[in-house]
């Protein structure tokens, strides 16, 4: 509450001739854009196949994850909330054209001024994960039943589904499903921060371009990757599998797009 008061104080002080870095009482729009990649290639569901480690190939049908508590950080240090929760879902990105457009989330009424970074929680934040789909109206990212495990009272933070060709014979018959959600004593939520200089001006829309590399998530190196010959499914019960996915999604996969 005190923090909130502080926030609104800095906000007001902008009018009284503060420094250039302060936000002003004018508003613009910010568009958060995520483009998916698999290494250097655009991430395209179903239509594209990718070389994988150890002579395997892989094709995807679904890649999605939640991001929570998305904030812009102004040069003054002030935080401005963009959104509470979004589902970044590449399921319908089924062509290179769609991949180059990426997934966009727009936020209006963002105070004009200079920003230096974005921060967001990868996963569903603790507070939000206390809730369930019935707490939300239809269409809300947390209302979709398919992303909720009622038995564990947790949302499924991340889903990766697809098929693998284990021996390079062109048959993608190995089915892959990795679903990561919170279990007791397995904290899987983490806030990340990415530097990016963004100016927001009155009545203008500014784009904040991000990339998400699925290769970094499941096969960050030739010695550290999900070996589909050993494991093709996880419901957050094999620590070596879900920690690889979660750690890499949080630390290595999401970057500001150059």
């Amino acid at each position: 509450m005190i923090a909130l008061l502080g926030l609104s104080l800095t906000f007001f002080s902008a009018d009284c001739g503060g420094s250039e870095d302060d936000l002003v009482d004018e508003f613009g729009e910010v568009e958060l854009n995520f483009q998916g990649f698999f290494g250097a290639d655009p991430l395209v569901m179903l239509a594209n196949e990718y070389d994988y480690e150890a002579g395997m190939d892989v094709r995807f049908q679904l890649f999605q994850f939640y991001v929570s508590e998305i904030n812009l950080i102004a040069k003054s240090g002030e935080k401005v909330r963009l959104g509470e929760i979004e589902l970044v879902n590449f399921e319908n990105i089924q062509s290179e054209d769609a991949a180059s457009k990426g997934l966009s989330f727009s936020y209006s009424n963002i105070p004009a001024g200079e920003y230096r970074a974005i921060e967001m929680g990868i996963g569903v934040s603790g507070d939000l994960n206390e809730k369930a789909p019935a707490d939300y109206p239809v269409g809300h990212p947390l209302a979709f039943q398919g992303n909720y495990w009622s038995g564990l009272s947790s949302y499924i933070f991340t889903k990766i589904e697809g098929n693998a060709d284990l021996n390079g014979d062109g048959d993608f018959t190995e089915k892959l499903t990795f679903h990561i959600g919170e279990k007791e004593d397995v904290p899987l939520y983490q806030t990340i921060s990415l530097d990016y200089e963004l100016s927001v001006s009155k009545d203008q829309s500014s784009v904040l371009p991000l990339s998400v590399d699925l290769k970094q998530v499941i096969s960050p190196s030739s010695t550290n990757f999900l070996d589909f010959r050993e494991v093709s499914q996880d419901h957050t019960n094999q620590a070596s599998v879900y920690t690889l996915i979660v750690d890499n999604l949080q630390k290595n996969a999401i970057r500001v797009r150059q």
């Binding site: 049908q61 789909p133 019935a134 239809v138 039943q145 398919g146 993608f172 018959t173 089915k175 419901h235």
Partner: protein, 362 residues
């Protein structure tokens, strides 16, 4: 013809019990008071709240009218079939035949979908998702030559000339004249009625409410269904049949056929034009599933045993087959337990609900 006269007489009797009102000269209805009473649904707390339909708010008179229209063969060409001919309350508002039969016993193409909790379906309707709302859906069967096989002009004429329907449309929607009755009011009334199709009192619901307990077999089946046991095999069912509706309401290829080959019914891709949607169908709710045989869009399976057998094999590989369809390794007792659990999804109170029953029957 005799059936038609029969229904006419019954419906006149039904209206006779309603407050006195009559159609004025040239179909004038303005003398009849229009006092809509909003209908509050008793929504189950576990459900994601029903969307508000601002252009078609539920009223008592609207729902009553929709109920009559749903059961009245006046919507068919030869007055033999109504919505209720293929959506039978005793079977969870599904049909008992592999595909449904319309007027003159014309054979339809697909298995009738059981109608439950329709007001909560925020995605598309029909197996292939070809309509976006209940209002739009209700316009279709009347002119489908394999279903009610008539024209809307004809139905509108019959309703406008009917001795009592104009009064019911006045009560529901405040129309000023019988000639204002049109297909869109019909569809709105039916959609209102369908939004009252709430089913949330199965044994499974009672267990969640702490009012009943599952038997050991049912509980094992539940653990298999929801992948909640570290010891029992996983059924993988709840990737798609999940939440209080027992469906994500989205479309999947659940492995019935190899969809990379020629198909009799391409499902969603017919509508979306997307080849990756070949053989995807709307995931049905599993509520009352023990009563809604035959199963699947084409009614290919007549028992739950056949359904489980199919899933246990892991489906047929094709490019867009959901990776959540995989060989399950269920043994005979696992299968029996899973089916025992599916039986707990039956809500007998729904099958007996008076307000959803045929209003023309005494």
């Amino acid at each position: 013809m005799r059936i038609f006269v029969g229904i006419l007489i019954v419906s006149i009797f039904w209206f006779a019990c309603q407050p006195q009102a009559s159609v004025g000269p040239n179909g004038d209805l303005s003398a009849i008071p229009y006092k809509p009473i909003p209908l509050e649904l008793n929504e189950p707390g576990r459900f994601v709240k029903m969307q508000v339909f601002e252009d078609n708010p539920l009223t008592e008179a609207g729902v009553d009218l929709g109920r009559m229209l749903f059961y009245d063969p006046i919507l068919s060409r030869d007055s033999t079939r109504s919505c209720s001919s293929c959506h039978l309350q005793a079977f969870g508002f599904s049909d008992t035949t592999q595909v449904s039969f319309g007027i003159e016993n014309r054979m339809g193409k697909r298995n009738a979908i059981a109608l439950t909790n329709l007001g909560y379906h925020y995605t598309q309707f029909f197996w292939d998702g070809r309509v976006a709302s209940l209002e739009e859906q209700a316009l279709i069967p009347v002119e489908d030559s394999l279903e009610l096989g008539t024209t809307w002009e004809e139905v509108e004429r019959k309703l406008r000339e009917h001795p009592t329907y104009p009064i019911a449309f006045r009560a529901a929607f405040g129309i000023e004249n019988a000639k204002d009755i049109d297909r869109y009011w019909v569809a709105k009334a039916i959609a209102q009625f369908e939004r009252t199709f709430i089913s949330a009192n199965s044994k499974f619901d009672q267990v969640l409410d702490g009012k009943a307990t599952l038997t050991a077999a049912e509980e094992r089946g539940r653990l298999i269904f929801f992948d909640e046991s570290e010891i029992l095999p996983t059924g993988e069912c709840a990737h798609c049949h999940v939440g209080p509706l027992l469906t994500t309401l989205t479309f999947f290829n659940n492995g019935l056929d190899n969809t990379d080959q020629a198909l009799r019914d391409v499902g969603l891709s017919l509508i979306s034009g997307n080849e990756f949607d070949r053989g995807k169908f709307k995931t049905p709710s599993l509520r009352n599933i023990a009563l809604t045989a035959p199963y699947m869009h084409d009614g290919r399976f007549s028992t739950l045993d056949e359904v489980i057998e199919q899933y246990n094999k892991g489906g047929h590989y094709s490019k867009n087959e959901s990776p959540n369809i995989r060989p399950l390794g269920l043994n005979e007792s696992d299968k029996a337990d899973l089916i025992a659990f599916l039986h707990t999804l039956t809500d007998t109170s729904y099958l007996e609900r008076q307000d959803l029953s045929n209003p023309f029957l005494p």
